[in-house]
């Protein structure tokens, strides 16, 4: 009976990734709104007539019920929430990128409700908009912020001097933008202010913010390679 004490019903969640497990089951990496990232077994989900088959899709809002309190929970049921068109073409690859970031940077069992809501909104944007680069930059910034690595974008590092749009700065990891240092990534003040406002219309801001995000993410990934980034790069070469 102890398993039922740890039973959770109808929790909003997304599947980040799934692996085949045993003969007919799936091992799921779940991002739940109220309980963070969890591992879960979906028993029999790979059977030909399994009702879970068409439900446990990545990028689809679901309501999951599960039990267990160990490292790997057991999925009890899944409900389709709908409202999110399946991601196609480049948007689909961008979706994989989001999931790869979350799998690599988000600790297990650590709830991030605001990040969950932002992820949901980002998937909507990927499905309906065409400037995926801007969508990804916004997500990267908010994700780092929610995970406790917020960027300092409106003030100079270690002071309350506001960033000036026309001035040149160097951005140093875990420090911020400064005019007085030699190292770090050189950026225009406007790029930082545009990032603060989630505005990526300016091509220079788009380009510099991409470089900045790449540097910061590589730092937080501590040597892990993002395979999706490689894949998108390979695709763009053709």
């Amino acid at each position: 009976m102890s398993a039922h004490k740890h039973r959770l019903e109808n929790q909003p969640a997304f599947i980040l990734h799934s692996y085949p497990f045993r003969e007919t089951s799936l091992l799921l990496e779940v991002f739940s709104r109220n309980h963070g990232r969890l591992a879960m077994v979906a028993r029999g989900a790979r059977r030909p007539r399994s009702a879970l088959r068409g439900l446990l899709m990545n990028f689809q809002p679901l309501e999951l019920s599960w039990f267990g309190k160990g490292e790997v929970r057991t999925l009890h049921s899944a409900e389709w929430q709908g409202g999110q068109p399946q991601l196609q073409s480049t948007a689909l690859l961008c979706g994989f990128y989001l999931n790869e970031l979350l799998l690599n940077l988000m600790a297990r069992d650590d709830p991030h409700a605001a990040l969950f809501d932002y992820y949901l909104m980002t998937l909507q944007r990927l499905a309906h908009e065409t400037d995926h680069a801007a969508t990804l930059r916004c997500f990267e910034k908010h994700m780092l912020q929610e995970l406790g690595y917020a960027l300092l974008l409106e003030h100079e590092a270690g002071s309350d001097k506001p960033i000036e749009p026309g001035a040149h700065y160097n951005y140093v990891i875990e420090h911020g933008a400064s005019r007085d240092v030699e190292e770090g990534l050189p950026l225009l003040g406007k790029t930082l202010l545009d990032m603060a406002a989630d505005d990526y219309h300016d091509p220079l801001s788009a380009q510099q913010s991409k470089q900045l995000m790449r540097m910061l993410l590589n730092h937080h990934l501590a040597g892990k390679v993002l395979h999706t980034r490689e894949l998108i790069k390979d695709l763009l070469k053709n």
């Binding site: 389709w80 399946q86 690859l93 994989f96 990128y97 395979h227 390979d234 053709n238």
Partner: protein, 199 residues
């Protein structure tokens, strides 16, 4: 009790099979040695023979004993169609359905960036070369999982850039399916991808 080292080796070797842990491997080893020695010898012989003689067909990439497999050599197949599937089991399914008389290309996997399987790991350039051998339509029959969809998108971009005609198999309600019993994901996608009824 001391386990003889050759028995230990056998148990360790059996564990290379998917889903076989130490306990199952031990059970299999005992069974083979105690109850079915001729079966064990047959297994050893056929396994050795298969590993030595089976390779990938130069045309379709499926398992084959010859340089080019029987299906690819057949004159009855339509060389103007090239169907891309993920695994040999998918090719068998297509053949069972008796709906297709063209050629095949078996990817032996799918793109799965989260598992570290990219374009290089799948040797997709081989498919592009195969499709360029003669004018043909490439039919993408990868699975309708997110990975299968990503693979289809990647391939279509790759092949379109070479001016090759690409199509994707359709998805929707199963034949004989009732709306009442179909899962929401399939139904939602079927509505989204509905098509115009024409005469």
């Amino acid at each position: 009790m001391n386990t003889p080292s050759s028995l230990e080796d056998l148990i360790a070797a059996l564990r290379c099979l998917p889903g076989v842990g130490p306990k199952s491997a031990q059970r299999m080893a005992y069974h083979l040695l105690q109850r079915d020695k001729p079966g064990a010898l047959r297994l050893a012989h056929t396994l050795g023979h298969a590993v030595e003689s089976i390779r990938h067909c130069a045309k379709c990439n499926n398992f084959s004993e010859e340089e080019v497999c029987v299906l690819c050599r057949s004159h009855k197949r339509d060389a103007g169609l090239l169907c891309v599937v993920e695994m040999p089991a998918d090719l068998l399914m297509m053949e069972q359905a008796q709906c297709y008389r063209g050629m095949y290309f078996v990817l032996m996997g799918r793109l799965s960036p989260l598992d570290g399987i990219g374009a290089r790991e799948l040797h997709l350039e081989r498919l592009v070369r195969r499709a360029q051998e003669q004018p043909c339509e490439v039919i993408l029959a990868t699975n309708f999982t997110v990975e299968g969809e990503a693979t289809a998108h990647y391939l279509s971009t790759l092949l379109n850039a070479q001016g090759i005609k690409v199509s994707r198999i359709a998805r929707g309600l199963p034949v004989g399916g009732e709306l009442e019993h179909v899962d929401s994901g399939t139904l939602a996608q079927a509505v989204l991808e509905r098509r115009v009824f024409s005469e």
